[in-house]
Every structure is written in C-alpha cells, then in structure tokens.
C-alpha cells in the first residue's frame, strides 16, 4: 500500500440534524491520521453514494441518531452496488441498538459503532479492514 492516507466519508443520512457526534468523529479520525470528508446534514442515499464515488473514499461512514438507519441502509445498498462501491468499507455509528446489528450486517455493514464507541476502536477497525 502506498503512503496515501485512507480516505473516509462521514455522512449524516436522512433528516436528523443532531450532528455533534458526527463532527466529533470527524475530528477524531483526522487526528488519527485519516483524510476525512464530511457531507453535512440531510443526505439522501443517492447523495451519499455519489459523494463516496466522487471523493474516491475507502470508507463510507454513516452517523445516525434518529432511528431511521435500517430503511436508509436498505436504500443505500443497491446504490453502492450500482456505483461499484461494494468493496468499500461500510460503517455506521450513533444510536444503533443491539437488536438491529444483525440486520445491518446482513444488509452489508462491515462495522457498527454505537454511542460511546472509542475513537481508537473506530480507527483501528478502519486500519485493519481497509482493503
């Protein structure tokens, strides 16, 4: 692997505006040595896929607080396939209850980092799993 920094997209899917967590994670990942692109609020599935494609990221990260993560991920999945992004590391953080983890994994999520996850754990997971 070259010296190129791992590029991470952090997106706020859907309508929820609670972005404190997303922004905190952006800063944490920048400090951990990643290149981070933050989309801002209210991203549609299409906007997330497009941003991931245009920015050439290695990691697609979603921050979800208001409970709409499953319907959103279900809509995003076919777009990732369509855009040729299925090989990218796909992670989600925020208010993601344990009862949803299995379904999210089935949809195709690689990593789930519920509220309280440490920066180190997210950073290590990315470093170990980016292909």
């Amino acid at each position: 692997m070259s010296d190129r920094k791992i590029r991470v997209l952090i997106a706020k899917p859907g309508l929820d505006g609670h972005d404190q967590g997303a922004k905190v994670v952006v800063r944490g990942l920048v400090d951990a040595g990643f290149e981070v692109i933050y989309t801002g609020l209210r991203q549609s599935p299409k906007a997330v896929a497009q941003a991931a494609l245009e920015e050439g990221v290695d990691v697609i990260g979603l921050s979800s607080m208001a409970g709409s993560h499953i319907p959103f991920c279900k809509k995003l999945k076919p777009l990732l396939d369509e855009y040729g992004l299925s090989d990218k590391l796909w992670i989600i953080g925020g208010n993601v209850p344990a009862k949803d983890h299995e379904e999210l994994k089935e949809i195709g999520l690689d990593g789930i980092f519920p509220t309280g996850a440490h920066f180190d754990d997210i950073a290590n997971f990315i470093k170990e799993n980016v292909k």
Binding site: G14, L15, D16, R27, L41, R42, S44, K99
Partner: protein, 529 residues
C-alpha cells in the same frame, strides 16, 4: 494543597467560600428582591408558593391520534402543559408523501401535514387550562399559524390565547439542524411571528430562545447562556427595526436552557442569567415594563448528561436535574426520560419523569421558599462570576461581528464542535468522570430494554389521511392562498396573515414551505472545522 478545580465554564472553584468572596466578586448589588429588578432571585415575589412550575414533558410520535391519546394520559396523570414533538419531515417542511420523508414519518414525533392533524391532536384538550408548547423551528411560522387557526376554529379568542413555539432558528444552525431557509430570511420569519403575535396574539410566546441545544453541541454553561442572549438580541434588533417598541414584545420572549453538569454552576448560571438579561433589556433596550425584563424559562432537560450505559441511572440524574431546575426558579420543567438516550420514551418512563417533579412539589418542600440557595456564599459568588463570564463571552461575539455573522460563516459551530471533541476525549480517557461510562462500568448483559415500536403502517395511514384531506379541500382556495404566501414573501411583507389563510384552506406544510423556498431559497450548510 489539593489541585485546582476549574468548572466547565472556566471558573475556579474554592474549597470554601466566605463573605469576603462575595464582596470580591462584586457584592450583592445585582441580587435584589424576588419579583423586583434585576430579578436575580426570581421573576415573581412568591414564586412556587403561588403556583408550582408547569410540567411539560416533550411528547409526540406516529400521528395526531396516537399523540392525542398520550397527551390525555399525561394530563390525567397531573401534567399541566403540553410540549409537542414533531417528526423530522414536519420539522424540515416536508409532507408525509415526500420521497425524503420515507422511513422518517412519525418516527421522532407526530406527523403533521395539514390543519386536520392539529384538530385531531388537540381534541378534547382545554387550551385555556393546558398551555401548549410547539417544539418547531424551521417550519415554525407555518405551525404557529396552524395552532392559532385551530384554536380560532374551536372558538378561542387568539388575542387571549397562551402558548409557546420554540421558533429559535439561529440555534438550529448551531445544533439540532432543522433549518430550511438561508439565515437571513429565517431570521425575517422569526421576526414576522414576533410582530404578528405582538399585534394579534399578544399572550402567545412566539419564540423560546434555546441555549439548550448549543450546550448539547459542545458549549459550556456560561457560553450556553451568553450565546442565547446574543441570539435573543438579534431577534429583538430585527423587531425594533420594524418599528416595534421593546415593551411590545420582550415580555413574550422566553428561554429554554440545559441543566446537566455541576449543580452549583447551573444554579448560579440561571441566577446570573436572570440578572444579566434584565439589565440588557432595561439598560440597552430602554424597556420600562418590568415584565419585558423577565427571563422566563423552561429548564430540566439535559440529554447530553444521560447515558445509554446503565440507563436506570438516568432516573437519578433526572431527579437531580429537576432539583436544580426548582432551585433555579424555572417557570416550566421538562425532564428527559431515562430511556430517551435510545428511544422515544415509553409511557412508563414518562410517568416516572412526571412523578419526579411531583415528588419535589409534594414531598420535598421545593415550592415553599423562594431562591433557597440565595445567601450561600458559594452560590452568590459564583452567580457574580458567571455573570461576568457571560458578559465577557457576549463581548467576544460582538467583537467578531455578531452572532448572525458567526452562525452564517460557521465559526460558532466550529468552536462548539471543537469543544465537544475535547470533552469526548476527556471522557474517553477518564479525565472527565462519567458514571457507568468511564467509571463504575458493569459488564452489561444484552439489555432487556423497551423500544418504542416504529410501525410502517403509521406512515401509510398518514399518507392516506393526507390524500383524503386533499380530496376534500377547495383546490382553488388552496392555490389562491399559496399564491398569496409567495406574493407576500416576494414583497417582503409579513407572511403570517397569508400563512393563516393558507393553513385554514388546508394547504400542506410541504406546499407552503415550497412556495417560500421559491422566494427565499434553501440554506446551504457551511462545512467548517
């Protein structure tokens, strides 16, 4: 000698306070009597002896009918006000059938498309006895119009109707994020509601300025209050520019503050804030009516303090937050429920919050004496120091071009989010203790917690009822009223009369919003770190 202790607002906390500390911090010049300028000790002479705080739990989910049922449950259990939660499509000006609304209808609050939903939501509720607070911002002008129109239809005289809308858009740009229009027209709309209410619904509180969410986004307690005052001043300045007198509207502005953190720092924050706001309104704005100088507030919530770990601990935290709020002389209280860190509160959790407040009123003696911490060397000293700190922060904002400029450029957002990051690092390292999170953790079993069920059928029912309303309404009247909204927006007129017109014709939140977007455009978030 032990290490220095510095509170979150940046003030050093001494191991002991005496009269000398009170003197050194400025003495008791700003203390005064309760019910008298500068109101540091409380805005009323007798405070809770005359009437306890209003209990107003934040409630709303699915649709108007389900929410109405929960409202009645809470009122039957002794709640004295309502605080309505709307779903995200409503908050961002989208109809239930909008593609962006898919998966979000009725999820974090009740779905509202037309006046019909308001008619159902408040059915059987006496709007003179139970005051209603609408937690709505981006779409606030439309929903205020809807509330007033609903009340009018039910025969209430809106000139006498009480109620509150959150309607603080500037803080939405800093945290919470339910903006729709760009900053400038957004402030214009807030001003429209202030002007309209001053003239037509003078008992209605059109704005509740929120330090709350700025604190949640990473601000310190002192910044929380200072930034809220800067925002309130921005609205006041805009209203004055329209030719209103400060006494025509300042008495109908209210505040919403956060409460988590050090107990004494919070109590001092509220006391200091009351004195400072009174001074600003009287001295800077020349108000003459003492009611204009009152800092009226809702306080008790502190979501940022609650944890998903060991959620039962949140019941205890909530009880302390309620205690802080009562010791601070809040007018209204809403507690975060213990399960709120991960779901829409259950009926059970709501009842515990309600009982927490009722316990303080009935069993703990919190309503007997005004400002019970007044006279504490510690609290009086800290009150003076917090006031100085807030003034210092407000001066910094002025020096940087004012709050509207800072919000537009994203500098204030970047500042608080940097602070949130620093705090998160301290929590992760254990430097800032958080029970159950970085100390006293337990290896938790798979939690048996009750989650609020989300039914996709709720969205389908809501779309069906929206279509029914659309089929029944007078299409020509809808079109005419929507054209009027656009024309008034284009002409720079106050849009409230046109909005009243449109909601009465059963135009939808989305239709009205889109008309305004045609004129005002949409906000584009500055991404700045």
């Amino acid at each position: 000698m032990s290490d220095k202790i510095i509170n979150e607002s940046g003030l050093e906390v001494q191991p002991l306070y005496t009269e000398k500390d009170v003197e050194a911090s400025g003495g008791l010049a700003m203390l005064g009597e309760p019910g008298q300028y500068p109101f540091t000790r409380g805005i009323h002479r007798e405070m809770y002896r005359k009437r306890p705080w209003t209990m107003r739990q934040y409630t709303g989910f699915a649709n108007a009918a389900a929410t109405n049922e929960r409202f009645h449950y809470l009122i039957d259990n002794g709640q004295t006000g309502l605080n309505v939660a709307f779903d995200l499509p409503t908050q961002t000006g989208l109809d239930t059938d909008d593609p962006m609304a898919e998966g979000e209808v009725g999820r974090v609050g009740m779905a509202v498309d037309t006046l019909r939903d308001f008619e159902i939501a408040f059915k059987g509720i006496d709007l003179e006895k139970i005051t209603v607070s609408l937690t709505i911002n981006g779409a606030a002008a439309i929903l205020i119009a809807m509330y007033l129109a609903m009340a009018e239809k039910r025969g209430y005289d809106i000139a006498k109707l009480r109620g509150t809308a959150q309607n603080d858009i500037l803080k939405e740009f800093i945290g919470r994020g339910t903006w729709i229009f760009p900053v400038e027209p957004s402030v214009k709309l807030v001003c429209d509601t202030i002007e309209y209410c001053a003239k037509s619904a003078p008992k209605y509180t059109p704005v509740s300025v929120c330090g709350y969410h700025i604190r949640e986004s990473g601000a310190t307690p002192a910044q929380e209050m200072a930034y809220a005052f800067c925002i309130a001043k921005a609205y006041a300045d805009a209203a004055l520019e329209r030719g209103l007198h400060i006494d025509e509207f300042a008495g109908r502005l209210s505040y919403n503050f956060n409460i988590f953190g050090n107990i004494f720092e919070q109590v001092a924050k509220f006391r200091a804030g009351r004195g400072l706001w009174a001074k600003i309104v009287k001295e800077d704005y020349g108000a003459e009516n003492p009611k204009s100088m009152w800092l009226r507030m809702i306080a008790g919530g502190g979501g940022g303090g609650l944890t998903i770990e060991q959620p039962e601990n949140n019941i205890v935290r909530g009880a302390y937050y309620a205690l802080i709020s009562a010791l601070s002389g809040a007018q209204t209280m809403a507690l975060c429920c213990y399960d709120e860190a991960y779901t829409i509160p259950s009926e059970y959790a709501q009842r515990i919050s309600l009982r927490t407040m009722q316990l303080l009123i009935k069993e703990m003696g919190l309503c007997e004496t005004v400002d019970p911490l007044g006279g504490s060397f510690y609290v009086d000293t800290m009150t003076n120091q917090m006031r100085d700190k807030m003034e210092e922060i407000m001066a910094e904002v002025d020096a940087q071009g004012g709050i509207v400029k800072m919000v537009s450029e994203g500098t204030i957002q970047a500042k608080v989010s940097q602070q949130a990051y620093e705090m998160q690092k301290k929590i992760q390292s254990g430097e800032f203790p958080k029970v159950g999170v970085n100390c006293y953790q337990i290896e938790e079993e798979e939690k048996e917690v009750e989650f609020h069920p989300y039914n996709i059928e709720d969205a389908e029912t809501q779309i069906k009822s929206l279509n029914e309303v659309k089929a029944q309404r007078d299409a020509a009247e809808v079109a005419r009223s929507l054209d009027r909204v656009k024309a008034d927006a284009e002409a720079g007129r106050n849009v409230m009369p046109a909005l009243m017109d449109a909601v009465k014709a059963y135009a939808t939140v989305g239709e009205i919003t889109n008309k305004m977007v045609e004129v005002y455009g949409r906000y584009r978030e500055p991404i700045r770190f």
